[in-house]
């Protein structure tokens, strides 16, 4: 291989591959990025065995070739080089040499790599047709549920977002077993061409890491996102990137069953007001379990925190409520996370008693619901 590529491009592509590459030392080859050049096309690949990414571009090529080298090291080297083109060459001993074409510095880096054959093969094309959609509302849906997704590997089926077709609408659900976020949007909201949308099985669980990549990516105006499926994989195509991931196997809990209906007790509050008050009061929570208390009474909400070694805080805000007094203890982060994402000036919180699930949603926002389980007991 002997090519030149602009530094900024290479930096960008390596940072994409870096987030997917595995940091697990058990399979060292996965910490590599595979650079594959043939006929003016360059591809960067990385994988963690479950998720893979391919970034494509065209470059000035003097000689084709390929090599997989440590992605983090290569990224660090490129970051330090001047803003000119970078020349990459390989030799017959599987070594990659990196030089800047800039006159400003005279430095050479050599990294030992492994051949393409030793790098896992990444298939980036789905068996089924791609579904075209508008990335902006799709990203918004992800953002509205991803914070609830579990990071606990013991609850494997909860470590991804559940995507399903729900009465023709598209739904995403994230939960860690203590809280749950559910968002539903119409196909036309996502500008999906008629009769093209489908989700295999009765819904799929998509690993968080893939969707995080989509959320992070800044799409150009009018740029489309393509979504596709194979038997147990999901594919995304956008810009010059292909993402592929194994779907999470396992059964997603029957979340519809736990969504309360016809609740009578509820209050409404100004979203920003409530959010800011909780932020203030939470400064003094005991950090090991982040508990705040909500004392709900007629048109008045008392939010309080207590920290046995530090002190405590209490704040009163006006709400609309007319039922009996009730005290509910919960993890303030659960509330903060969803209040941030609710697209409505007024929020509605309904509940039954201090040990049952609370529902949080926007008064003027349809199709977005958050469930939060309270804490039992408290300081």
């Amino acid at each position: 291989m002997n090519i030149t590529i602009p530094k900024q491009k290479m930096l960008k592509y390596l940072s994409y591959t870096d987030t997917i590459a595995s940091s697990k030392t058990t399979v060292p080859v996965l910490s590599n990025v595979l650079i594959d050049v043939s006929e003016k096309n360059i591809f960067f690949y990385s994988s963690n065995l479950e998720t893979g990414i391919k970034v494509s571009d065209t470059v000035k090529t003097d000689e084709d070739g390929s090599l997989a080298v440590n992605g983090k090291k290569l990224l660090s080297i490129v970051r330090e080089l001047p803003d000119d083109d970078i020349r990459l060459t390989t030799d017959d001993k599987n070594r990659l040499t990196v030089r800047s074409e800039s006159k400003a510095i005279n430095a050479e880096f050599t990294i030992a790599g492994v051949s393409k054959e030793d790098f896992p093969k990444i298939n980036t094309e789905p068996e089924e047709e791609y579904i075209q959609l508008n990335p902006a509302p799709f990203k918004e849906m992800i953002r509205k549920v991803i914070f609830s997704v579990s990071s606990d590997e013991n609850k494997y089926s909860l470590t991804g977002i559940f995507l399903e077709k729900n009465n023709g609408d598209i739904s995403m659900v994230g939960t860690d077993g203590k809280r749950l976020s559910l968002v539903s949007r119409k196909q036309k909201d996502l500008e999906i061409p008629k009769d093209t949308f489908y989700v295999p099985y009765d819904g799929v669980i998509i690993p968080k890491i893939v969707l995080n990549e989509i959320v992070k990516f800044s799409f150009e105006e009018k740029e489309k996102l393509y979504l596709g499926f194979s038997k147990n994989q999901i594919f995304f195509k956008y810009d010059n990137i292909n993402l592929v991931s194994n779907l999470i196997e396992g059964k997603f809990p029957d979340y519809k069953k736990i969504i309360p209906v016809d609740r009578e007790k509820m209050f409404t509050a100004d979203r920003k007001f409530l959010y800011n008050a909780i932020k203030r009061v939470s400064i003094l929570v005991e950090e090991s379990y982040n508990q705040i208390k909500l004392n709900i009474s007629k048109d008045k909400l008392l939010i309080s925190s207590q920290n046995p070694t530090l002190g405590g805080a209490i704040e009163e805000i006006p709400i609309k409520y007319g039922d009996e007094d009730i005290e509910i203890a919960l993890n303030y982060i659960y509330l903060i996370d969803c209040l941030k994402e609710i697209g409505s000036d007024t929020v509605k919180i309904d509940f039954e008693d201090s040990e049952r699930v609370l529902t949080v949603c926007g008064v003027d926002e349809e199709g977005y619901t958050n469930l939060i389980m309270p804490m039992k007991g408290g300081i």
Binding site: D152, N154, T175, G177, K178, R179, L180, P253, I258, S288, Y289, Q291, P308, T309, A329, N331, E355, V357, L371, M373, P374, M375, K376, G377, G378, I379
Partner: protein, 395 residues
Amino acid sequence: MKMMEKNRTIVHVDMDAFYASVEQLDNAEYRNKPVVVGADPKNGKGRGVVSACSYEARNYGIHSAQPISRAYGLCPHAIFLRPRFKRYTEISNKVMEILEGFSPVLEQISIDEAFLDCTGTQKLFGSGEEIAKVIKEKIQGETGLTASVGVAPNKSVAKICSEIAKPDGLMVCLPGMEKEFLEDLSLSYLWGAGKKTIRKLEGMGFSRIGEVGRSDREMLEKGMGKMGLHLWLLANGIDEREVITRHSRKSISEEITFQKDTDDGELIERVLFQIADRLTRRMRDLRIAGRTITLKIRLEGFETFTRSKTLERAVSSMSTVRDEATRLFRLFEREHKKVRLIGIGVSNLEKGEQLDLFSETDETDSETEKVFDIMKGLYGDKITRGAFLKRPPDK
């Protein structure tokens, strides 16, 4: 071990005939009348026990833990009521809030009882006796109920003081007077000594606390083990146990020594079941939950082992604690040695237990437990949980 401060001021506050007093407070027509809170007497045919009764009812010989049918027989015209735990808890919380105002070192030991360590608060509130007076006034002023208060240099004596002072009383035992104070009291005042222990002491020829205090310590230890030493110390007015606040509590545990060393696995698992039940009931009373479950096991020859398992979240449910403890017991290799003692501890305590959205088993569990706690309140320890006495084998 922390050095004991000399002359602590321990205050024990005990609400008078709590459930019955709350009923009399909420229903003016019950005042000055015998009120019995407990199971339905069903015209004398009812089963179950008295949970609490007013002092008027006590005059008829009614007392708590008595069969409700017997209470009905003693005073059929008494007002018999079912307990309203939600209301009692509400008032209890109010009382504890008041007490917290006097010292941060507060240990609630049941719904209507608490210890306060007021050592060092004298500058703020005056002597132990003065603090006790103000506490009584404040409780009566803010809840309308009376409490009895005992003040002493240690927990055991303070508790005995409030017991003697009942109802609506105040008793102080000054430092140095403990032994004298205990001298003529009957054995039933010894805190922690149950019926069996008292019978054993009586069998050894004791009838007053002072006699136990003057007895030979080694003889008691030989006869009754650790309990013997503990009682000997208490009888001498010595009790170094600290007032444990909810925040300072690091763990909670229960254990049982077998009367005879055993290698009957089924029996041991049955006992683990009992211990888990008792322990988790205490945890629920104290509103704490813990993440680490520890099995303590002592084999013949006094070798003691512990095995722990840390869970992902804090629990207080009987079935989880029992399951984990039993699992640890089954994994423990005791090389055919007999078991002398078995116990369960829960540590890594959290004061708030995060509830789960999906775990139905836990949900039903806590519902069952609520009902169960109420039933035990009504019918006493005769109530046993319906469960596989023999835990099914691990999957």
